[in-house]
Structures are given as structure tokens and as C-alpha cells.
């Protein structure tokens, strides 16, 4: 008996010791205490925060609130939920949205796009243009002038040397920089003095706002990252977890894929900002749990990326703690139409372009893809799967307004009768009476329709299948795990680049407002095939000589009005030529507490882009 009890006691004690010791060792006070006395002494005045948003893309609201102006950090803690937590804070090493957003409160670019898609300065003093001489007449040079007196959070001055260093860091191929496409086509980046940076491009670049613009390409500190260039970048975990920045907050504690604790940056250039002394960013769980923490329990102030069934979100919103907000950039959920023949009998020639010799038996016929598009009721897809996060669209480029074509809007209304008539007229008839039409050559219209595994996508698939049944098209559905489908493994037959199906569905978007490279996804030089390991960005293998010529013109046009005209024309060529069938203009959905003021959700950049301006009501 004695033996057992001592053993049990020892075992229990050991467990207790193991369970307790790691926590008790690190007893240190890191919490910042807000001093209530100083707060009461600051002058309270009526400040009218009026925000006029010219476009309807983002939330338009006018807030009149009592906001205490004065001391930085008087607002205490603000809690933000990114349910997919960042795995590090260096967006150059892991270019996922979660890393870009969460590092954007610490490190900043020279300029970025605000919520209405206009360039706004961050570390630059002004936006260089042709008019102010910042962009050279021959479009090969851009000169950025930096703000004076900006300090890094460690107190050292921010200079043009840091900008040049950032270029060297990311353009080094051994770094494995995920934003290296932002620094392509550059001949040199030079610092002519402490506050001036001159970027020279290899060729005329009418859209020079790529390098150092947006939070995907922010400036990192040379002093901190000097030893982390090239292969060494992978091992600099201290730097990647706690970059020194110029932004409103600094990193206090970083826990990979879990949480980040930030504190207000004492050296931030605006002495009155940020309003909050601490920013706590929590990850884990799923989108529904994140929404619940803001809308129902009120524990958190902001929750990002709430891809939750629309009816669940609206029920949670009824609790009255917060509201759901959305913002729309250029993401479009689309059906890509395979222009090549994916017949397994073709062996290695399956879905290979072969200069147009291997065309799809029926999907390249305008009658067929038009009928397929007409038969879809996009509004039902929005209502059932997306709610506030989606709108029906008929375009490749769904926004901003200046770039949107109105030529294709007829697809917004479903037209089954019209689609049937179109097919009848062109000789696609159901000759054998099995409910499936055949081509004039006798090939039945049976479509293999694949996408990634995701409940909303499978819902969409099921609806589209039903709609196409009504026009005599049979659909086989298939879904593939997202990591495989979007992965680039050339050995896998299931990647979206291989496209071993007739139609596939996914979402893609322009990177920021760079329509030139986005529309490059339909040029013939980008056709996905065995010569590029099926990694070419023209996934549909769609080609059109007129499109190629017009796209080349876009690359040499500097005039903004002409550029938006070309973008519209290119958009129409893709849609009318069957390059894709657009379904849904997808926005991002987030939620914030009613007490949190100043949230301007930005579809073009980090959602935390203006966190320095966030305040709390009633303080």
C-alpha cells in the first residue's frame, strides 16, 4: 500500500510540477498600466470626425462623437482577431494576407492605396507624378522624397539607405522573397541624399507605383536586417518575429500562429497617435468563433475575414454589440473554360495547348459558353453563399468604377429560354432523347466541373449543375483539397494549372490596382503547359491576337484615361471571347465593435492600414 500511494503521490506531484513550472519561471510585468489621473486632465473637446467616401465600395458613414484628443495611448487595449494568425511578421518571407496585415501596424511602405483606391503617402513626403516631376518624361525613372524627421521605433533616423537596403534584401534571389515581383524590371535603386530615392527601370514603366508601394512591399530597417540578406534570411527568426518599424505600434511579444502583443510606438511621427496603448491580436479557432467574439460576447473589437454563412452573421449581428462591414477590391469567383481538350484518352497531350491544334470539342464555340453563362442565376449564388460578401458580376475587372465595363451586364439576369434558343439554333440538339444535348458532331455536352473543397464552393457547384440541367447540359462535379488544387506540384494531376477538367472555379484578383499584370493572365505568352510545368498564369489556355496587341499597348501607355479605356476593352475581349465566365464579385467581410471608431476597411491594402486613427467611443 505504501509503495502505491507514494508512487501515485509522486506521479501527481510530478505532473503538477511540470504543469506549473514553465509559467511561474517567467514572472515579469509587461502590462502597460493606463494612468487614469492623466486622462482626466486632458482637455475634452468636441471633434467632428466626418468622413466622406466618394465611392460606394466601402462603408460610408458620418460619425459625430466625443473623442478625447491629446495623449498617445490613452485608449488602453484594443483587441483584434485574425483567426488565421500570422506565422511571422516579415511579409517578404511569408506573403500571406495574415502576415501582410499584421506587420502593417509596425512597418510601413512609402505610399499605399486608401479605401477608395487612391494613392496616399506613408513614409514619402508626396506622391511622385509626371506633373510634379517625380516621374521622368520617358517613364523610366521615379524619384521619391521621404518625410523628414521620421524615426524608427528604436529612435534612430529613417533614411533613404533603408529603402535601398529593402530593395537589395528582396531582390536577392536567395532570400526567397515572396514580393520579389514588386521589384522586377528595376535597373537600379539609388539614394541620392538622405531623403531622396531614385528608381530607374529597365524600360518605360507607365505604372511605376509598385516598388515600396502598399503593405506588401514595406521598408525594413537596414541596421536590423543587414545580416539577413540572401540564404541567411531564413534563420533570422528574431528579426522576422519583431521587425523594427516606423508604424504606430511596436512588437512586444510574438507567438507564431497564435497571438501578437503590440505597444504604442513612442517614436511614432504623430505625437497624438495611436489612441490605444496596446494592440492585442489573437488567432486560432475559426471565422464563426471570431465573429462571435466581436458580435456576441463583445470580448474583441475587430475580427477579420469572416467567411461565415450569411444567415449566421446576421443572426449574430442582432446581439447589438457590433456591425458587419465589407469592402470590395477586384476578386472575382469565376468559371475558367478549358480551351483545350482534357480527354484522358489523349495521354500526355491532355489539356495541352499545342498552338490551338488541340481545341476543346465544344467549349470554344461562343454559342456554348454564352448559353452556359446565360443559364446561371448569379443572384441566387450570392444570396445563398455570400450575403454581404458578394455581388453578381459579369466582368473580369469589377472595380473600381473607372475601370468597369458596362458592355456585358446582360448576364446579371438569368435567361434559360434564351440559352435554350441559342443552342437549338446552332444545332446543339438532344437527338437521342436522354435529356443531354449533343454537338452537331454527336458529342454529348457533358462537363467535368472542378473546384477546391469548401462548403460555399460545393453549394455553388450544386446550383450551377441544376441550372445547366435546364439547358440540357450534364455536369459532373469534383472537388479537390485547396492545398493540392492551388499547389504547384507538377507531378499532381489535380492542380488548377494542369486543368484536367472542362471547367474549373476559383477566385483570383489583381494585386492592388495593377491591372496590367493581372490581364497578362490572358496573353498567349502565359499559356499554362508542360514547357512551364503547368505554372503559366493563362490557366484557361485562352488566346486572342487582338488581346495580345492591346495588352502590349497598355504596357507602354502612361495616360491614365487611355489606360482605363484599354482595361475596359481588354475586359470585354476576355468575356465576349469566352476567356472566363464571371460569377461573383467577392468582397472581404469583417466586423467591428460599435464602440470602435475610425475603421475604414480598405480592400486594396491591409485592413489594419489606418489603425493609428482608430479610437474608442465614450472615452
Amino acid at each position: 500500500m505504501k509503495k502505491i500511494s507514494t508512487f501515485l503521490l509522486l506521479a501527481v506531484l510530478a505532473l503538477v510540477a511540470v504543469a506549473c513550472s514553465p509559467e511561474t519561471v517567467e514572472v515579469e510585468v509587461t502590462r502597460v498600466v493606463t494612468e487614469t489621473e492623466t486622462v482626466t486632465e486632458t482637455v475634452t473637446e468636441e471633434v467632428e470626425v466626418t468622413r466622406v467616401v466618394t465611392e460606394t465600395e466601402t462603408v460610408t458613414e458620418t460619425v459625430v462623437e466625443t473623442v478625447t484628443e491629446g495623449a498617445r495611448g490613452q485608449g488602453g487595449r484594443v483587441t483584434v482577431i485574425y483567426w488565421q494568425a500570422p506565422s511571422n511578421l516579415n511579409p517578404y518571407l511569408s506573403g500571406g494576407t495574415k502576415e501582410i496585415d499584421t506587420s502593417s501596424v509596425v512597418i510601413e511602405p512609402l505610399a499605399l492605396y486608401n479605401e477608395i483606391g487612391e494613392l496616399e503617402t506613408r513614409l514619402a513626403a508626396e506622391i511622385p507624378t509626371l506633373d510634379n516631376g517625380g516621374v521622368s518624361e520617358d517613364l523610366t525613372q521615379i524619384t521619391w522624397t521621404l518625410k523628414e524627421g521620421v524615426l524608427w521605433s528604436d529612435g534612430t533616423p529613417f533614411t533613404s539607405a533603408d529603402v535601398v537596403f529593402t530593395y537589395e534584401y528582396c531582390s536577392n534571389p536567395d532570400t526567397g522573397c515572396s514580393a520579389s515581383n514588386f521589384y522586377e524590371g528595376i535597373a537600379s535603386v539609388e539614394a541620392t541624399d538622405d531623403l531622396t530615392v531614385v528608381i530607374t527601370f529597365n524600360e518605360p514603366t507607365p505604372f511605376p507605383y509598385q516598388p515600396f508601394v502598399s503593405n506588401q512591399a514595406p521598408i525594413i530597417q537596414q541596421a536590423q536586417f543587414a545580416d539577413c540578406v540572401g540564404a541567411a534570411a531564413q534563420e533570422c527568426s528574431d528579426q522576422n518575429f519583431g521587425p523594427v518599424g516606423t508604424g504606430p505600434f511596436t512588437v512586444v511579444e510574438f507567438r507564431a500562429n497564435d497571438s501578437v502583443l503590440y505597444a504604442a510606438n513612442d517614436n511614432y511621427r504623430d505625437a497624438n497617435k495611436p489612441f490605444f496603448s496596446e494592440l492585442f491580436l489573437k488567432g486560432g479557432g475559426d471565422a464563426a468563433a471570431a465573429a462571435r467574439s466581436v458580435l456576441e460576447t463583445g470580448e474583441a473589437d475587430y475580427a477579420w475575414n469572416l467567411q461565415v454563412e450569411p444567415e449566421i452573421l446576421s443572426t449574430m449581428e442582432l446581439a447589438g454589440n457590433g456591425k458587419v462591414v465589407s469592402a470590395f477590391a477586384t476578386s472575382v469567383e469565376r468559371l475558367m473554360i478549358n480551351q483545350t481538350n482534357p480527354d484522358p484518352a489523349l495521354g500526355d497531350d491532355r489539356s495541352v495547348f499545342m498552338d490551338g491544334e488541340n481545341a476543346h470539342p465544344f467549349l470554344t464555340d461562343p454559342v456554348v459558353y454564352q448559353a452556359l453563362s446565360m443559364a446561371i442565376d448569379r443572384n441566387i449564388l450570392v444570396q445563398t453563399g455570400y450575403g454581404a460578401a458578394g455581388r453578381a458580376t459579369c466582368n473580369v475587372i469589377p472595380g473600381p468604377a473607372a475601370f468597369v465595363s458596362t458592355e456585358n451586364d446582360s448576364c446579371l439576369t438569368q435567361d434559360i429560354a434564351g440559352a435554350n434558343a441559342l443552342l437549338d439554333e446552332a444545332g446543339y440538339l438532344d437527338t437521342d432523347g436522354d435529356g443531354i444535348r449533343e454537338t452537331p458532331d454527336g458529342i454529348p455536352l457533358i462537363i467535368l466541373y472542378q473546384t477546391s473543397t469548401n462548403s460555399v464552393r460545393q453549394g455553388t457547384q450544386a446550383f450551377v449543375k441544376q441550372m445547366w440541367e435546364q439547358i440540357g447540359v450534364e455536369t459532373e462535379l469534383r472537388n479537390i483539397d485547396a492545398s493540392v488544387f492551388f499547389g504547384g506540384d507538377p507531378a499532381s494531376p489535380d492542380t488548377y494549372g494542369k486543368f484536367y477538367a472542362d471547367i474549373e472555379m476559383y477566385t483570383s484578383s489583381a494585386s492592388g490596382l495593377d491591372f496590367q499584370s493581372y490581364l497578362g493572365n490572358w496573353t498567349s505568352s502565359q499559356v499554362s503547359g508542360p514547357d512551364n510545368n503547368f505554372l503559366g498564369s493563362n490557366v484557361a489556355r485562352w488566346t486572342n491576337a487582338e488581346f495580345d496587341a492591346l495588352h502590349a499597348e497598355l504596357a507602354t501607355t502612361g495616360d491614365q484615361e487611355r489606360r482605363s479605356e484599354i482595361v475596359k476593352e481588354l475586359n470585354d475581349l476576355v468575356i465576349q471571347g469566352g476567356g472566363m465566365i464571371p460569377l461573383i464579385y467577392r468582397g472581404s467581410v469583417s466586423a467591428h465593435a460599435n464602440t470602435l471608431l475610425g475603421v475604414r476597411m480598405n480592400p486594396w491594402d491591409s485592413e489594419l492600414w489606418n489603425v493609428a486613427d482608430w479610437t474608442r467611443a465614450g472615452n
Binding site: 509503495k3 502505491i4 508512487f7 506521479a11 501527481v12 505532473l15 511540470v18 504543469a19 514553465p22 509559467e23 511561474t24 514572472v27 515579469e28 510585468v29 502590462r31 482577431i81 506565422s87 511571422n88 511569408s94 500571406g96 494576407t97 532570400t175 526567397g176 515572396s178 514580393a179 515581383n181 540564404a231 531564413q234 534563420e235 527568426s237 522576422n240 518575429f241 511579444e253 507567438r255 507564431a256 500562429n257 497564435d258 497571438s259 492585442f280 489573437k282 486560432g284 479557432g285 468563433a289 462571435r292 467574439s293 456576441e296 460576447t297 470580448e299 474583441a300 492545398s483 493540392v484 499547389g487 504547384g488 506540384d489 507531378a491 489535380d494 483570383s508 484578383s509 489583381a510 494585386s511
Partner: protein, 337 residues
């Protein structure tokens, strides 16, 4: 006994090597792409550059040997170095196992996450034992009494309701409706004084109770049947007829013999504490080792998945050995030689 232990330890070495190879091979055969979760706007050439910088494109054999060397030689040496402060060999050039997601040493991430996993799972495990053993003993002693019926009912409920349902239910009742406990776990919270300790307890209550109920349910059933088996044996009748008091019969004679299988079961379950409770951690956002494993699998972070699963396999092998040894100590009738 000594020979038995030595034999088992020696046998464990090839077993573990074999396990590590199998894990590595399975992960390698599965279609994986560490850049698969990046936005589609990142072009394929850039993805290729990233894969190259991670060493993803090296041949299978090289990656496996590299990992073996890092895990069995470099990491222990580094641990020894930090523990003793003495520099051993060329420590600056010893490559560590780096996570592809975070680009930081996997071992450090695991150490960072151990506290919350041990706090929550360890406490729930101990709590589960403290509830299960008395309940099991009493249920058996008063078989078919009201207490036994209630105990059986509760443990059936605890055993059959999945933790993800119970967890969600508790969040809706205690966080949303009543507002008593936080719905997510703050891992940056540090216990420094009484109020901060209360905060820590409040955020631990829900995940611990869900897991404790689940642990206690199976263990109490186990204890009950073990005690029932013993109660009808001859030595119990002998003890009673000698005039030993009922308390002593139950708590000294029966309990000791009944605990033999229970203690073994407990020893075998201990690795589970380290493996984390994937689902419960996810629901309460505890973000311990279970959540680390899930996010690594989703992000195709092969070095982390490989290291974690191997550590779990190692613990399972070790605790199975411990269970065998404990069994031998508790029950003198068992002889391994």
C-alpha cells in the same frame, strides 16, 4: 527486471528510427506545397524561388538524412549548450530544424507552446483522475444504487458527447449568455499576482472542464469494473471474515489491487497530454501543440509536422515502457525475465 528494461530500450531505438522514416515517407508522398496557401497574385516564378530557399526541392534521401542529423545531433547539442552555457563544437554553423511557416526553429515553437498545453491538459488530466477514481470506487461498492446510476449516466454522457459540441455549448451558455468566462484563451497573459491568477483560472475553466469530464468518464468506468472484479474475490471475503473494518477492506485491499490496470491506463494516456487536444484547443483558441500540428498540416509545414509527430511517437514508446515497468512494480506476480 534490469535486463528487461535494457532489452526494451535497445529495441526502442530501431523502432523509433523506423517510425521516423515512415512519417517522413508518408509526408513526402502526400501532395504538399508550402506556397499553396499564398494568394494567387504571387507569380509561379516567385513561388519556385521560395520553395528553393526552403530546401523543398532537395531529393528525399538528403532531406531525411538532414532532418535526422538536425534532430538527433544538432538539437540535443544546442539544448545542452543553452542549459550549461558551454560552447560545444561549431555551434554557429549547426543548422536547426526550421519551420517553413515561421522560419524559426521548430523546437523553440514547441517550447513556447508547451506551457498552455500542459496547463490546460495537465490540469484536466489530474482533475479527471481525482474525480474518476473515487466515483468509480463508490459506484462499484454501491453497485446499482442511485449514486451508481447517476455516475453511469454522467459518464456515458461525457463519453458520448463530442468535445466540439460540449465546448461550443459551454461557450454559448457561459460566454455569450452569462458572460462569466472569456471565449478565448490569452496566451500572453502572465500570472503575477492574485487578480491575474483569477483571470488565468477564469480562462482555463471551460476548456479544463470539457476535457476533465471526457477523461473522467472513461477512467471512472474503468475503475468501477476493476473494483467490481476484486470485490468478489476470495481475499476480500477472508479480510472481512477476519473482522477487518469495511473501510480498510475497500481502501487498502480492494483499491490497491484494482488500481493496477488503472495506473497502467493513466501511464499510457500521459503522451496524450503533450500531443494536445486538437479539437478542444481549436474551440477555445488555446493554441497549444494540437493547434500547432493542425496549422502546420494545413500550411504544408513539413519540418514541423515531422518533428511534432515524431516527438509524440517517442513519448508513446517511452510511456508504454513506463507502463510496463510500473505494472511490474505494482503487481509482484508479473515477472518479465
Amino acid at each position: 527486471m534490469a535486463r528487461f528494461i535494457i532489452r526494451r530500450v535497445l529495441l526502442a531505438i530501431p523502432t523509433l528510427l523506423f517510425i521516423s522514416f515512415i512519417i517522413f515517407a508518408i509526408l513526402d508522398l502526400a501532395p504538399n506545397d508550402p506556397t499553396g496557401s499564398l494568394p494567387l497574385t504571387v507569380p509561379p516564378e516567385v513561388r519556385e524561388q521560395i520553395r528553393e530557399s526552403l530546401g523543398f526541392n532537395d531529393p528525399f534521401g538528403i532531406r531525411y538524412i538532414k532532418w535526422l542529423r538536425q534532430f538527433f545531433i544538432f538539437e540535443p547539442l544546442n539544448a545542452l549548450e543553452t542549459a550549461t552555457g558551454i560552447t560545444i563544437g561549431d555551434s554557429a554553423n549547426r543548422t536547426r530544424i526550421l519551420s517553413w511557416q515561421t522560419r524559426s526553429p521548430v523546437v523553440e515553437i514547441i517550447i513556447e507552446r508547451l506551457p498552455q498545453t500542459l496547463w490546460v491538459l495537465g490540469t484536466s488530466f489530474i482533475l479527471g483522475i481525482l474525480i474518476a477514481v473515487p466515483v468509480g470506487v463508490l459506484s462499484a461498492y454501491k453497485q446499482y444504487s442511485l449514486f451508481d446510476q447517476i455516475g453511469t449516466f454522467v459518464s456515458m454522457v461525457g463519453f458520448s458527447i463530442p468535445t466540439f459540441f460540449l465546448g461550443l455549448l459551454m461557450i454559448i451558455v457561459f460566454s455569450v449568455e452569462l458572460g462569466w468566462f472569456p471565449s478565448f484563451y490569452d496566451t500572453t497573459h502572465k500570472v503575477t499576482d492574485w487578480p491575474s491568477f483569477v483571470v488565468q483560472v477564469r480562462q482555463m475553466i471551460m476548456p479544463i472542464s470539457v476535457l476533465a469530464l471526457f477523461n473522467a468518464s472513461s477512467l471512472s468506468r474503468f475503475t468501477r469494473s476493476a473494483v467490481l472484479d476484486n470485490l468478489n474475490l476470495d481475499y476480500v471475503r477472508t479480510a472481512r471474515s477476519k473482522g477487518v473494518r469495511e473501510n480498510a477492506v475497500l481502501l487498502i485491499h480492494v483499491l490497491r489491487n484494482s488500481l493496477i490496470p488503472v495506473v497502467t491506463l493513466i501511464a499510457i494516456q500521459i503522451p496524450g497530454i503533450f500531443a494536445g487536444a486538437v479539437i478542444t484547443e481549436q474551440i477555445f483558441r488555446v493554441n497549444g501543440l494540437g493547434q500547432l500540428l493542425i496549422t502546420s498540416i494545413q500550411g504544408a509545414d513539413i519540418p514541423t509536422v515531422q518533428t511534432l509527430t515524431f516527438i509524440f511517437a517517442f513519448l508513446i514508446v517511452v510511456f508504454n515502457l513506463v507502463a510496463d515497468i510500473v505494472y511490474g512494480i505494482l503487481d509482484p506476480r508479473i515477472r518479465y525475465d
